[in-house]
């Protein structure tokens, strides 16, 4: 597709992104998601995270539960991305427009990612609260937001790819949760113990290095290491690339 300039591809992706965002807010999906997301973050932070009782002015109890929250909420957003296009037949319309598969995948991903970004942004009152109650390290909190958003992008790219596999949203949801769960857990002892004892150290490192937990934890400690950023960018790129391949292989099924 060398004849299509990158600006045309970008314009295509932007157009798809705008359409998707319009779609979110034209239905109750967006509002339901935002309300649930804010409620859940609140519940996790204040009840499970003991936000007040800990006596620290930081957002650690807020960010600590994000991986678990995303495990279910992000697939809920991503499950419809392609499954819905297949079910309603609009995929045929989309792919007979002068638009590359990559532009369509990117546009849809960016729309969903921005939407989750908006949900995250709406938790900013939490940030104000800690600043009111004490004097937190705002750099660490900012890093926490960045890490959380990047991690959401990783979950989302997996979910988008899984959604392209089926026309059934329920299947897309379950597949996404399972794959996200594996990525999430890969650094935890329960998974590592399966490999310990027989797998060589390099594979153990590789598996634990894949974990969303570890990289998210690193970033949210306030240490923005290039390796962690690259990790999330690579995860997102990999799954979006797989997404493009799957769509190109089976557009019509």
């Amino acid at each position: 597709m060398s004849t299509v300039g990158s600006s045309a591809a970008m314009r295509g992706a932007t157009n798809v992104m705008r359409r998707e965002l319009t779609g979110y807010f034209a239905t109750p999906v967006a509002y339901v998601f935002l309300v649930i997301f804010l409620m859940m973050t609140g519940v996790f932070t204040f009840y499970l995270g003991n936000f007040y009782e800990r006596g620290f002015a930081d957002l650690d109890p807020f960010f600590r539960f994000h991986p678990w929250l995303y495990l279910f909420l992000v697939p809920a957003i991503s499950m419809r991305l392609w499954a819905e296009e297949r079910r309603s037949g609009t995929i045929e319309l989309l792919f007979t427009l002068p638009l590359t598969t990559f532009a369509a995948v990117l546009g849809k991903f960016l729309a969903a990612w921005l939407f989750i970004g908006l949900a995250l942004f709406l938790t900013v009152p939490m940030w104000f609260t800690v600043n009111y109650l004490g004097s937190p390290d705002n750099g660490v909190i900012l890093a926490g937001y960045l890490g959380s958003w990047l991690m959401a992008g990783g979950f989302l790219a997996i979910g988008s790819c899984m959604s392209a596999l089926t026309r059934n949203q329920v299947i897309a949801f379950i597949l996404s949760v399972v794959v996200c769960f594996l990525f999430l857990l890969s650094g935890l002892p329960m998974v590592m113990n399966l490999f310990k004892g027989w797998a060589p150290q390099i594979i153990l490192d590789g598996i634990s290095g894949l974990s969303f937990f570890k990289h998210f934890a690193d970033i949210s400690k306030g240490v923005i290491d290039l390796r962690d950023l690259v990790y999330f960018v690579l995860v997102i790129s990999f799954w979006l690339f797989a997404n493009v391949l799957i769509l190109n292989m089976k557009k019509a099924d």
Binding site: S88, E92, L93, P98
Partner: protein
């Protein structure tokens, strides 16, 4: 120009389109006819690049669709089967999305949406979500998105399906007004539609091309071509008298209508009117038949399935 060269589409143990070759030139309105499952939609999906052919190539104005779908798509306006739309968007939002995706310049987007809305009489519903519209309106929204960039090639999969007779008439009128200098391909199983708008007909069944002709030429293949049908009192008696005429090859009586098939090139109608005058029969209706497309369609497609 559309060129299809030996297009094939095979699925596991099933051939949907079997070695289809044809060329469609500007100014042609081609009607794709065939029974359900004949491969009409599959062929259209391959022409528009949505499906990759198992073998063979499709060229749109010289561009290989499989190799460069994005370039090829620019020349085409396409209404997929069932006219899928993003239901949660309003008609205007949806058409604006398509106009932008069609690379219409920013300044012209709004104008081209207006034009498409007006052409398909969608003004009254332009701010309603597509999913709340009736089937007829949805189909028209689908047509509006297909013509929004004034494409040189229009591929319409069952454009009048689900429309009422008035809407069908409007859509046919629209197709006819756009036909000049364009290529229009429509698939349908409504035979009268072909006679109303097309100047070329291709009949396919089981993925094979069985006939490629003008509607007129196809009708002329009918055994009814140049026959005379009449409704008359005491039809059996009339039939036996007329069968004696040298111009009449055969007389058939069906549902009270008597059809007389010609034994000669010309003169059947004259001979019959003369006989009517001579015997003073009470004739309620009398007409010279051009042929019956449904009969031709059935004989062509059932010959294939019987073989």
């Amino acid at each position: 120009m559309i060129e299809a060269k030996s297009l094939c589409k095979r699925y596991d143990g099933f051939t949907a389109v079997d070695d289809l070759s044809f060329t469609i030139k500007a100014g042609q309105v081609l009607g794709f006819l065939g029974p359900n499952g004949a491969g009409k939609s599959t062929t259209m999906k391959m022409l528009t690049g949505f499906l990759t052919p198992t073998s063979g190539i499709a060229l749109i104005n010289g561009i290989d669709v499989s190799e460069n779908p994005v370039e090829a798509c620019k020349h085409i306006g396409y209404l997929p089967e069932g006219a899928p739309c993003y239901g949660e968007m309003t008609v205007r939002q949806f058409l604006t999305f398509v106009a932008r995706a069609r690379l219409i310049s920013r300044a012209d987007v709004s104008e081209s949406v207006d034009r498409a809305v007006e052409k398909l009489s969608l003004t009254t519903v332009s701010h309603q979500p597509v999913e709340t519209l009736s089937k007829g309106f949805k189909r028209r929204v689908g047509l509006a998105q297909a013509i929004i960039h004034d494409p040189q090639i229009l591929i319409l999969d069952e454009p009048t399906d689900g429309l009422d007779p008035n809407q069908k008439h409007e859509v046919r009128h629209l197709i006819k007004t756009m036909a000049k200098d364009k290529i229009i391909v429509i698939s349908t199983h409504i035979l009268e539609e072909v006679e109303a708008v097309c100047n070329r007909v291709m009949i396919i069944a089981d993925g094979k091309l069985l006939a490629d002709d003008t509607p007129h030429g196809l009708v002329a293949r009918s055994r009814y071509n140049n026959s005379v049908s009449m409704v008359v009192e005491e039809a059996e008696k009339v039939a036996s008298v007329l069968s004696e005429l040298p111009q009449v090859a055969k007389a058939e009586l069906q549902d009270g209508e008597l059809t007389l098939f010609p034994a000669v090139e010309q003169g059947l109608f004259e001979a019959i009117t003369a006989a009517i005058a001579e015997h003073q029969w009470e004739v309620m209706a009398l007409r010279l038949e051009a042929g019956r497309l449904d009969e031709v369609f059935r004989s062509i497609t059932s010959k294939e399935s019987a073989a």
